[in-house]
Symmetry: C2
Subunit: 449 residues, 2 copies
Amino acid sequence: MRLSQYFLPVLKETPKEAEIVSHQLMLRAGMIKQQAAGSYSWLPLGFKVLNKVQRIIEEEQNRSGAVQLLMPTIQSADLWRESGRYDAYGKEMLRIKDRHERDMLYGPTNEEMITDIFRTYVRSYKDLPLNLYHIQWKFRDEVRPRFGTMRSREFLMKDAYSFDLDKESATAAYYRMFVAYLRTFARMGLTAVPMQADSGPIGGDLSHEFIILADTGESAVFCNKDLLEKPIPPLDTDFRGDLEPIFRDWTSLYAATEEMVDEDRFTSEVPEDKRVSARGIEVGHIFYFGTKYSKPMKATVTGADGKEIEVHMGSYGIGPTRLVPAIIEAFHDDAGIIWPVSVAPFEAVLINLKAGDEATDAACAEIYAALAAAGIDALYDDRDMGAGGKFATADLIGIPYQLIIGPRGLKSGEAEIKHRGTGERETLPIADAVERIRALVVPQRLDAI
Amino acid sequence: MRLSQYFLPVLKETPKEAEIVSHQLMLRAGMIKQQAAGSYSWLPLGFKVLNKVQRIIEEEQNRSGAVQLLMPTIQSADLWRESGRYDAYGKEMLRIKDRHERDMLYGPTNEEMITDIFRTYVRSYKDLPLNLYHIQWKFRDEVRPRFGTMRSREFLMKDAYSFDLDKESATAAYYRMFVAYLRTFARMGLTAVPMQADSGPIGGDLSHEFIILADTGESAVFCNKDLLEKPIPPLDTDFRGDLEPIFRDWTSLYAATEEMVDEDRFTSEVPEDKRVSARGIEVGHIFYFGTKYSKPMKATVTGADGKEIEVHMGSYGIGPTRLVPAIIEAFHDDAGIIWPVSVAPFEAVLINLKAGDEATDAACAEIYAALAAAGIDALYDDRDMGAGGKFATADLIGIPYQLIIGPRGLKSGEAEIKHRGTGERETLPIADAVERIRALVVPQRLDAI
């Protein structure tokens, strides 16, 4: 993409309304624009990151055996009356009346609707296990939305729902999501720690939050340091096999949010030099809640013995619109964002130090075409402005590699590559530059983990 | 995807509530489920098609120079008060009050919001031309939603908005979209005819609808038959060049919807043997509307001479959730849907005629792995049921190629391929089957046109 033809409204000043660094940087890097309280447009750069985050989530959900569909944003109130949550949900639910005065609502979550889909079509134990998920906009009318897309009212959620015959197989479904979540966050460069969680208003007795550590996290967390360095289940993990050992391994070390922490256990189970007491951001939450919805909504299947069985369910959420700022909280410096390659809006930025100079323009055009031919998703800063502004933009928007071409280098046949993360610079023959970028980028792409 | 692990709730009976064939087939093929009046879940098979349709739209929008972003579904009423449309829009607008009693609405379209984004960031004539688009859910509270997702209340829309300095460059932007639309529909296998249209409530004086002919179309259309056989602008069309000749070529032949038709012109301009009088489905609509929104909303840029200029705008819509049934209206027979490869949910279906038989299962597992390795998106019907049901499902859901493997063929080392569209069958050595499928599929994929 040529920057002169792109829409990248970077800001020089840090907007006053933004309290946390990710919100500030998303505004400054032209990633989002606020449209109303807790409501944001995703501008092109932000939209690209959001898409890559979604793609990683989808790949790992699919790999684990979950099947993607898409439910509408607006729901009928009747479904929620069946589960008993219509009155219970409170003011966070955005309630709507249509032109015929029917009660509708903007879905804050989808347990009721997915249970309705399940009971409409699934009749036999032979059709289980089943895990259905979608990625759709949700609305929760919070009193005080804040921190940009970290806690917005309209937000994107991946929500998966598992259906099983009994608690045992539901637990196996839970383990599959547990492992899929470990892989999902790791592929975005994040160290996410699963912590036993309160099951909250949804209910149930098996529940974990996935937390990444960040100073701006909303809650205090306590865990064993070894959890931060644990290797992630590999690409060839067999999701049809027994995943309980992985689950046991990860949950054997102490980790809890402030709502759940038992300080005696924390100090007795975790050696002093391993105790991590920090702040964290919740980026995923998984629940097992048994027959909480299948019972009132009559979601049953016929078992092998001909009897009707209420299915055991779980739900599994990830917030892509929250993950983007969470990644920024984890990866930034004073100059701006430092994207991991797997979610970077562009993998490299080609910086033309003298746009308008015929030789430099020609060389850059050739390199830009070569980057595209090599399959690199590159931004080409072809703007007619000084080098300082270009470097500042490149640093701010956090593209992993800057390929710098100017008249002086051209004379000696040399290009410069700056690694955004480390600040490292390398000078190399122009002819080798594209291959070098490729060699840097490819091993860090989506499927490298 | 193994069908035994998929969620494909096909129906044997044609649901009574469905009036048109696409609606019937989408329900029967397990593509959608109605959730409320004019509101649908997209079940896995339907969701896959919807995704492919979106991908084609995105590729052609990007190719034409439009830049993708994403605006929220819920909008503040204040923006619509600025343009004067808040009161004018009527009951089709879904109006909402949040917990603080602020007036919100579920966006039926986005002219106001995109104009707000534009005026917030764009200051100079140097930043033009600009075309921003998104694909987002919309809601229009129609009195009588019908025909499934063809006319639903909650629907997906690709809406692009162009910003230019004057009418001349806005017209060039209009031509770019005109050509992008021709390519978009053609890549889905559709023959879409651009017809001069009434500009309706949005206003303006340059407006075309893109119509595909179908007996179930909602409006009568009249056109020159030559338009149905016109070659589409090719892949290497230069969107930075002059596209007026393509526009003139397409619009020189008579074509009009019933709202716009001039019967005298139709009969005088179109030779009798070229007159097509048929019914049509609108799948796209493009408008130029000048300063209709930029003037009241003060979206101006500074010109080269330092003066403030109100920008000239156009908007360009395509409905992906309507395109899916429109494609089915164009491609089906008594047995079911016949997907063009470019939008097919799966490119091939592997039919195991004797699931449970060890040798057949082993052969199919091997072929299924080979299809995946060859990059074919295949469904594997591994269900434990009779061949008749499997053939019926494969025909109903419309997968372009059926690769049929059974114990008898295994003995002679032969497989059968059925072409869903023509009914043609070929018998060939099993060892050649995957390569044959690949050779059939690849030239018809997304990028072949």
